[in-house]
Structure formats: structure tokens, C-alpha cells
């Protein structure tokens, strides 16, 4: 009878990350991230338009992943982190 097996997983304990507290109002700069999926740009165009209409104080900045198939390159993630207060990612499909 088998009583012990070796763990086939990576054994890492995931780091617990809590959500950032929800702000009461939009402010500062919002990153709009296009992951390079078809029509992601259309979605973000419309969103950007709505943001400017309904939250006139905020600025938007557009970012785009070079390919949908890989995680965002580090420079893009760093730029969003340093230059923006919020990020909205346009997932397609």
C-alpha cells in the first residue's frame, strides 16, 4: 500500500496579495492597456472617450503589449506603475 508520494508541484506557497483599497473617486492618470487582441483598441477608444466625458479631471495614457501571446514586458509594467494611478486592461475574446 502506498503511504507516501513525492509532491509533483512546484511546492511554492503563493504570496497573498490583498486588493488595493477602492478609491472613492477617479483621479490622476489611468493606464489603458491593449493586449494586442483584435478590437481591443476599439474598446479602449470608447472607454477613453467615456472617461474624458465623465471624469474630466483624469488623464489617460495608452499602452500596448507587443504580442498577446506573452506576458507584458517589464518596461511596460514599470511605466504603468510609475506613471499611472489606475490601469484598465482590455482583455479580448
Amino acid at each position: 500500500m502506498v503511504t507516501q508520494i513525492l509532491d509533483p508541484t512546484d511546492e511554492r506557497v503563493p504570496i497573498k496579495r490583498s486588493l488595493t483599497p477602492r478609491p472613492e473617486a477617479l483621479h490622476g492618470t489611468i493606464a489603458l492597456l491593449d493586449i494586442s487582441k483584435p478590437r481591443g483598441d476599439k474598446f479602449l477608444d470608447r472607454l477613453e472617450q467615456l472617461l474624458h466625458e465623465r471624469a474630466p479631471g483624469v488623464e489617460t495614457r495608452r499602452f500596448m503589449k507587443p504580442t498577446v501571446a506573452k506576458p507584458a514586458p517589464e518596461p511596460i509594467k514599470q511605466a504603468i506603475l510609475e506613471e499611472c494611478d489606475f490601469v484598465i486592461e482590455a482583455l479580448a475574446d
Partner: protein
């Protein structure tokens, strides 16, 4: 064989004996079902009697239950130590019983032997008497009545199954966490519940099995092979071996599995995207070189699916690594809309002898004698191309082109399609004198249709956006022929299967380009 320096074992009375004792000692390791051990145990008893308090004679028995049997059979009074756990046998690395070690007062091992050699045993008996301070004493052993020589028996610590268990427990090779099961757990159900499987049962990765699997490679178990997406987890040789056991692989497959993991985790192949895509892609492994026969891969009947352990388990092991180490779980980061059965395992060898052309590996820059694995990302499952009428290369290429023209959808250009020709189909090209590039060029030409037929329309949403016409120079370009395949390199031709009939197979790639490119590597050791 290493003379032990320290150990502690219990004797038949349950008393712990610490080695070395004070003074000289004769240590023997024996087992019950060994004729030579039974021949020599009375001799050891006589040495014990003759040396009295001047020398200890300790006999380690390789099984607890054999101690009372031997004690009664031979009327033994010397201490019989219990080495049922084989700790002492493993540490001394004996492969034969009986084995004898004689130590002097300073605990130096001065003589040792295994089996029965009358001359050596007589020498050890005499030296024992000397160490006991009775150089002129008589052991009462009638040496001339004994055979000149008798071979010993295989030690229990080297028996099949026992050896692997000892290595797994004691070698220190395995560092993965041990998962304990309750006595009431069914191991197979338990592994399902832990989420370790791909839907089929897996072989439980016990320490013994994993250690045995690791013997298939010369690499250190703790070598980090790659960083496995999507969780970007470091994956060691040991972790690959665990998942290889679960997949049903044999140790001789392990280098191939390690190589597939290495290829999969390259930037070029990008298994992150391959397994995350909503399109349901999967890595397909193609093997070339002598390794195909060496590990018994199938490239004949049913090469592309079912019935061959190497083909099935090598591909499955890669998938299990991605699942268990990389964390690629359906509905999690594996976003396949539908998937397909080829996502369980899709791995085969090329039938090089049946091909009129250089193998895939040679085409990609390797030598015919190299063992090579190539991974390709395929989102379309195997689709049969049937043509039993074509008698020349042109007609057969036309059939392939017609079949390939509708891959994914009839309008969109395609990238990276794998064409697995049966030997009969490959033979037609060979007899017609067609090269691989001849076939590719014909397919590109035959799948070319006017640009306007590749555009989206109200009655078919697939295809290129109408706005693309501007990039081709406006309306004048609407009749320009646009090929299904961008480049000859997008059509990968290999030969597999038996010469049963004129059926071949096509597998649609994923996205190519920056997404995932086919990648090859020599298989390591």
C-alpha cells in the same frame, strides 16, 4: 564494500549494540536463505566460543524473522543483530553474503572477505585468536573437511525493488516534499483530489519509482532545467522525474522529456502562450535520430496515436510538468475554448527510412546520427487527408493544398502547418522526383486565391479586414493572388506511419511568428 565505522543495531534480546565495542571484533553480515551463510555460521560460532571474552563476534542478519530460525538451526550463542532495515548493509554497500570484517583493538579493519574461501576464512579465524590473546588456541574447526571455496549469495540490499527503495530513502537525491496518505486513502482517488492528473489515472510517484526514473539521466536531480510558465516556477530534474513517473514513462525516456521541457520553456517556443491561448493549442513533439529505436518509439502503424508507451508518456509527461509545476490548469491560465484530445499527449517519431527526403532534424541543421526533439505548437487536431488515386507528385500536392486551404477557416492566411505524410504518399513524391520545396511551392500556388476572396463579408465573418486592401495598393489589388501560407517554411513536412494505405495527416499550427516558433534541440543524457 566499506567497513563500517559506527552503527547501532538491536540484538535478538532487543538490546542495542553500539559499534565499535571495546576491543577487537569480528563482524559478519548474513541472510537465512543462503547456503554459504549456513555453511559458515557454525564456524563463526566456534570462533566466538574459542575467543571467549577476548574478541566480540557479531553477526548482522538481514531479516528480523530469520534471527530465531538461524539461532535454533545452528545453536548460536553469539549476538545476532537485526539489520532488517538494511541500514548497516546499505552503509557498508555489501553485495554478497556472508561478508566478514575483522577489526583490531584500535578499530582498524585489518581483514575482510566475502563468500567462503577456506584460506581466507582460516586466516581470519587465526587472526581473531591472535587479537583475542590466544594465538595458540584451537578454534576446533576442521578446515580440511570444508570446501575450498563457495560463492556467497546476493545480499538482500541489492535485491530488485529493495535496492531502489534503499537508494530512494538514503541517497539524499530526492528533496521534494513527501505527501502522506492516510491508511484509508485510495492513492488513485487521492491524486485526482489533489488535482495532479490530466483526467486519466497517474502512476503514484513513490520515492522508489522516482529514484529509479532518475537513473535514466546523468544530470543531477537538483539541476534547474527551466523556469516553467505560467507560474514561472523553477523546474528541476527531480520534478520532471516525478511527473514522468506519473505519466507512465520509463527511465530511458527521461532525457527526452527533459529536452522537451527545455524547448517548451524557451522564448522561441513560448509555452506560456501555447497553453494559455483561447485557441486551445498544444505542444506536439517530433523525434528524429537513433533514439527512436533505442527507446522503442513508434513511427509505424498508429504512430500518431495510442498503443506505444514512449510516444504516449513522453508527451504526457511534458503536459503534466506544465500542469503541476507550471500551474497551467484548464479554466485557470489554460483558457482553451474547447481544446482537444491531442492536448493530453501528442508526440511521435519520424519514419526516416520511409522518407525520400532528409529528416526534419537534418533539415533543421542536425546530423542524421543526432538524437533530436522538435516541438511545434498545434491548435488543430490531426485531420486526415485521403487520396488513394494520385499517382504523381503534382496530383498529390493538389490534394494536400485543397485540404489545407480550409485550415482554421477558408479565408484567413495560415501559418505553420504540420503535414505528416504516410510512407505511401511520401513514396509518390519520391518517385516523381519532387523535393520538399517542390511540394511546398505547389501548395502555396494551389492555395492562392484573389485578395477579395480572403476578405470578411456579410455572409462569412472570417478572413482579412476590408481595410487591409489599402495596404495592398487599393482596389486594383483585389484580384491579386494571396497564398494561404506566407512562406515555404510555414509548411513542415515529415513522414510517419506504416505503408498501410494512402492517408496522410495535417495539423494546423497556432499563430507562429512572435507567438510561437517550432524549436529543436539535441536530446541530452
Amino acid at each position: 564494500m566499506h567497513p563500517p565505522t559506527t552503527f547501532a543495531l538491536r540484538d535478538a534480546d532487543g538490546r542495542e549494540r553500539q559499534f565499535p565495542p571495546d576491543g577487537p571484533v569480528l563482524l559478519a553480515l548474513v541472510k537465512e536463505d543462503c547456503d554459504t551463510c549456513n555453511l559458515t555460521l557454525p564456524l563463526l560460532e566456534k570462533v566466538h566460543q574459542a575467543t571467549e571474552d577476548g574478541l566480540d563476534v557479531w553477526v548482522a542478519v538481514q531479516k528480523t524473522d530469520d534471527i530465531p530460525v538461524l539461532k535454533e538451526r545452528h545453536g548460536l550463542t553469539m549476538p545476532l543483530l537485526d539489520d532488517d532495515a538494511l541500514d548497516l548493509s546499505y552503509e557498508t554497500d555489501i553485495d554478497t553474503v556472508p561478508t566478514l570484517f575483522l577489526y583490531d583493538e584500535q578499530q582498524n579493519c585489518t581483514l575482510q572477505t566475502f563468500g567462503f574461501d577456506r584460506h581466507e576464512w582460516r586466516e581470519i579465524a587465526a587472526e581473531s585468536m591472535t587479537l583475542a590473546g590466544r594465538p595458540d588456541g584451537d578454534t576446533q574447526i576442521e578446515w580440511d573437511a570444508l570446501p575450498v571455496q563457495r560463492p556467497g549469495c546476493g545480499a538482500r540490499n541489492y535485491e530488485p525493488g529493495v535496492y531502489e527503495r534503499l537508494q530512494a530513502l538514503k541517497s539524499g537525491d530526492l528533496l521534494s516534499r513527501l505527501v502522506d496518505l492516510a491508511a484509508s486513502d485510495d492513492i488513485y482517488e487521492f491524486m485526482y483530489e489533489q488535482g495532479y492528473t490530466d483526467g486519466f489515472p497517474v502512476v503514484p510517484p513513490t520515492r522508489e519509482r522516482v529514484w529509479k526514473m532518475l537513473q535514466g539521466t546523468q544530470r543531477d536531480p537538483q539541476d534547474e532545467v527551466a523556469v516553467m510558465p505560467p507560474n514561472l516556477a523553477p523546474i528541476t530534474v527531480e520534478k520532471i522525474a516525478i511527473n514522468a513517473v506519473m505519466a507512465g514513462a520509463k527511465p530511458e525516456y527521461l532525457p527526452s522529456i527533459i529536452t522537451l521541457v527545455e524547448i517548451a520553456c524557451t522564448e522561441t517556443f513560448n509555452i506560456h502562450g501555447v497553453l494559455a491561448t483561447t485557441m486551445g493549442a498544444t505542444p506536439v513533439g517530433i523525434f528524429n535520430g537513433p533514439i527512436r529505436d533505442r527507446i522503442g518509439m513508434n513511427y509505424l502503424h498508429g504512430a500518431l496515436g495510442s498503443g506505444n508507451r514512449a510516444n504516449a508518456s513522453i508527451g504526457r509527461a511534458l503536459r503534466l510538468c506544465a500542469r503541476n509545476v507550471g500551474g497551467s490548469l484548464p479554466g485557470g491560465t489554460d483558457r482553451a475554448t474547447q481544446g482537444g484530445p491531442h492536448r493530453l499527449t501528442m508526440n511521435f517519431a519520424e519514419n526516416e527510412a520511409a522518407s525520400p527526403w532528409a529528416s526534419l532534424a537534418v533539415e533543421r541543421g542536425f546530423e542524421p546520427t543526432d538524437d533530436v526533439a522538435t516541438l511545434m505548437a498545434m491548435s488543430g487536431g490531426p485531420a486526415t487527408v485521403a487520396d488513394e488515386r494520385a499517382r504523381d507528385g503534382r496530383a498529390l500536392a493538389g490534394t494536400l493544398a485543397a485540404s489545407m486551404s480550409c485550415m482554421q477557416d477558408p479565408k484567413s492566411p495560415m501559418v505553420d502547418t504540420l503535414v505528416v505524410l504516410s510512407p505511401d504518399h511520401a513514396g509518390i513524391f519520391g518517385r516523381s522526383g519532387w523535393s520538399k520545396d517542390d511540394v511546398r511551392e505547389c501548395i502555396i500556388e494551389e492555395t492562392s486565391i484573389p485578395l477579395h476572396m480572403r476578405l470578411r463579408s456579410d455572409d462569412a465573418g472570417c478572413g482579412l479586414p476590408p481595410s487591409i486592401v489599402e495596404q495592398f495598393g487599393g482596389e486594383a489589388a483585389l484580384d491579386m493572388p494571396i497564398a494561404k501560407f506566407r512562406d515555404k517554411s510555414n509548411i513542415i513536412l515529415v513522414v510517419a506511419g506504416s505503408s498501410a494505405a494512402k492517408f496522410s495527416t495535417i495539423l494546423g499550427g497556432w499563430a507562429g511568428g512572435a507567438y510561437s516558433m517550432p524549436a529543436s534541440s539535441k536530446i541530452g543524457v
